[in-house]
Structures are given as C-alpha cells and as structure tokens.
Amino acid sequence: MEFITESHYYRVMPFLLEGLVWTLLITVVGLIIGFILGAIFGFARLSHNKIIYGIATVYVEAVRGTPILAQILFIYFGLSDLTGINIDKISASIIAIAINAGAYIAEIVRGAVYSIDKGQMEAGRSVGLTRNQTMRYIIWPQAFRRMIPPLGNQFVISLKDTSLFSVIAVTELLYMGQQYYGSTFAAFEALTMVCLMYLLITVPTAVYLRRVERRLDV
C-alpha cells in the first residue's frame, strides 16, 4: 500500500479535488447565467425589431470573434482598470464563462427555435393563442428538446475553457495541478491526473448526450 500512498499520483489528489470543485462551480454557475443570457439574446436574434436584433448580433459576433483568454483578461484586468473596482477571480471567471457561453447558447437557442416547423406557429395562432402563448406552450418546449445535445456540448467546452483561467491564478483544476508540480517537479504524474479528472466529467457527459441524441432522433 505504501508505494501507492507515497506516489505523486496519490498525493496530488487533494489539490486536484479542490481544483475540480472550483472548476465545476465556475462552469455550472457560469452556464446557468449563460443560459439566461443565451435565451434572451437568442430570441433577440429572432426579433423583427432591427435595434434588438442589432444589439444581439453585435454581442454574439463580438464574443465569438475573440478568444476567451482575451475575454477573461479583459474582464479581470481591463474592467477593473477602467472602473477602479476589483472583482475577485472566481466572480471574474464566472462572468467570463457566462458571457462567453451566452453568445454560443444564443445561437443554439436561435437555431433550435428556427428549426421548428412554421406550421406550429400557424396552428397555435389559428386556435386563438397569441404569439407569446404559442412561443411558450408550443415552440419553446419543442425547441428546448433539440437544444439538449448542443447545450451538453457547450457544457463540455466551457468546462475545458475554465482551465484558461489558470492565467489569472484561479484555483481551478489545471492551476492546482501546476501548483503541485511547481513544488514537487512531478509534472508527468500531476498532469496525467489532471487530464483524467477532466475526462471523468467529459466522457460520461458525452456518452449521456449520445444516448439523448439517439432518443431524440427516432
């Protein structure tokens, strides 16, 4: 037993588990906010109002056209430079995930709503439902189902993106691994375990999504 508990593979684990908790927290909270942003901007992208459409389009294109690393640095250093207000690293990370994923989710929402047959809106309207009621009771539930696979995909992407926040020393998974081998020089062992921890989350997610996709297909 001793050779296990003495090994770096084992001794790195307390660090990595702490990092994993932060990684998951940033990802989940960031994505919840990102989903709300995505729903708002996704519908805005479907709007016939040119101003609403324009604002949403600028947001989506600005986020998708810039690297997330620049975005986190912008939020953490740039904004505090501008406003003089310092936000903590975890909040900055959550905001970065929310804004970044929000733009991609907006496109997921827009695509899913757009993919619902036009006849559904017409059928809803012709039984006397308003446009909003038809959206809410008929279009949205169908669109939401189609959004599950791409949303799961976005979860995996955002989870991996949090590793970039190591540049501002957020104590997420990768950063904690780096901390460990910084003092022990056991880079191979530490990074192997870091990758395994990511896979522990991403592989089951992918398998689950594949199943959901198959069920939605038939």
């Binding site: 017409e122 012709s126 039984v127 009621q133």
Partner: protein, 240 residues
C-alpha cells in the same frame, strides 16, 4: 357571414391575389378549386389573417379583419383552420392537443376542457387515442385530431386547406366523412380541395380560382357539367 371585397395580397413585388370578391353565407359549404399557384391557400389564409392583407376588406360576421385595430386572436378563435400537413403539436398527447386552446384562450380548467374534447374525439372516431402522441397516428387519424382541435374552440367558420392531399388514398375517406358530418350539422365551411367528388356531393357552391382572382363560381353541378369560362373548362378537363 364572410364577405370579401376587392382583396389584394402581394408578397414583395408579386401580387398573388388580385381583387377577390366573395360572399359566403352562414351554413354554406364553399369549395375552392383551381390550378397550383393560383392563390387558393393565400386566399384562405387571409380569411384568418395568417397572411397580412395588402388591401381590400374581409368581413367575418360583420367585423372587418383588414382593420388593424381588430383583436385578431378573438377573431381567430371564431375561425378554425385545418392544414394540409395537420400541424399537430408533437410534444402533446392527442387530448392535450385539443384542450390547449380551450384552456389557454377560453380560460377553462382541465376538466372542463376535457369535457369538450372527449366528445369531439368520439365524433372523429378516435376516442381510444386520447392519450397517445401524434407520432403514433396515421395521417388520416392526425387530420381528424386536427379537425377536433379546431372544433374545440367552437368556431363559427371552418377553413380547410387541402385537408386530404397529404394522405394515402385509403385514408382520405375517413377524413371526408368527418367533414361531411360537419357540413350536415350546418357548419360554415370553406374548403380548398382537389377532391372533386367531395365538392360535388357536399359543396353548395364551387369557386374556381386562377391567377389570383375568382374566375367563375356556381353550383357544383353547373361548374362540373357546364363550365362557362374557358379556363375552368381547361382546368376541369385536366383533373376530371
């Protein structure tokens, strides 16, 4: 009951309806026939404002629906519409498809709405399908559910846009039976159809549309046996 005056409809620069005049009385069954692209669907869709009216007036029970101030949701609940491709709500059971309108538009509770819906399902011969999802139904069954869904709003007028043309031939009959029953009960109906047999048997009047206007209208007997307009003659010689 329906009065159409000089109705025009354009999509962008192309004018599809070029001045439709029509009067449809209460309890009348009017069939609309004509070549593809002549504007039949567009005409029907203007009657419940699924298409915006470019100019002209359409009176539904006295209300001018071309007037922008009209409460269109209220008008639509008086005018039922049945589509070629059924447009059932796939995420809701058959029963829920039918009760949605009464619950959300008329403010009924679930029990009240089901009390309306179940007899309608029986009427279209699908009582046993109340709790299944639309995907497990045949086309003909779907269309009968769609009819029941419209009827649940107790419309005064029913519009049908080629209700049987997406169906396998052996399923057409059941849907037409339901429509015949409705006609017998005195429902005011406007039916775009390729089913000349139905038009002959059930229709009180047939409108022949071509190039965005009503070229000829008459009783089924006169239209089919003795068409006056050369375009009508040409069309009928192709389809009969």
């Amino acid at each position: 009951m329906i009065s159409v005056k000089n109705l025009h409809k354009s999509f962008g620069d192309t004018e599809v309806l070029k001045g439709i005049e029509a009067e449809i009385a209460e309890k009348e069954v009017v069939c609309v026939i004509g070549p593809s692209g002549s504007g039949k669907s567009t005409f029907l869709r203007c009657l419940n404002l699924l298409e915006e009216i470019t100019s002209g007036d359409v009176y539904i029970e006295g209300d001018n629906i071309a007037d922008k101030k009209i409460n269109i949701n209220e008008v639509r609940s008086r005018v039922g519409m049945v589509f070629q491709h059924f447009n059932l709500f796939p995420h809701r059971t058959v029963l829920e498809n039918i009760t949605l309108g009464p619950i959300k538009v008329k403010g009924m509770n679930k029990q009240e709405a089901e009390k309306v819906a179940l007899p309608l399902l029986e009427k279209v011969g699908l009582s046993d399908k109340a709790h299944v999802y639309p995907e497990s139904l045949s086309g003909g069954q779907k269309q009968r559910v769609a009819i029941a869904r419209s009827l649940a709003m107790e419309p005064r007028i029913m519009l049908f846009d080629e209700p049987t043309s997406a169906l396998d031939p052996e399923l057409v009959g059941d849907v037409l039976e339901v429509m015949k029953d409705l006609a017998k009960e005195g429902m005011t109906m406007v039916v775009v159809t390729h089913e000349m047999g139905f038009a002959k048997e059930v229709g009180d009047r047939v409108l022949f549309m071509d190039e965005g206007i009503i070229m000829e209208e008459d009783t089924p007997d006169n239209i089919f046996d003795n068409p006056q307009n050369p375009r009508t003659q040409e069309f009928l010689s192709k389809v009969l």
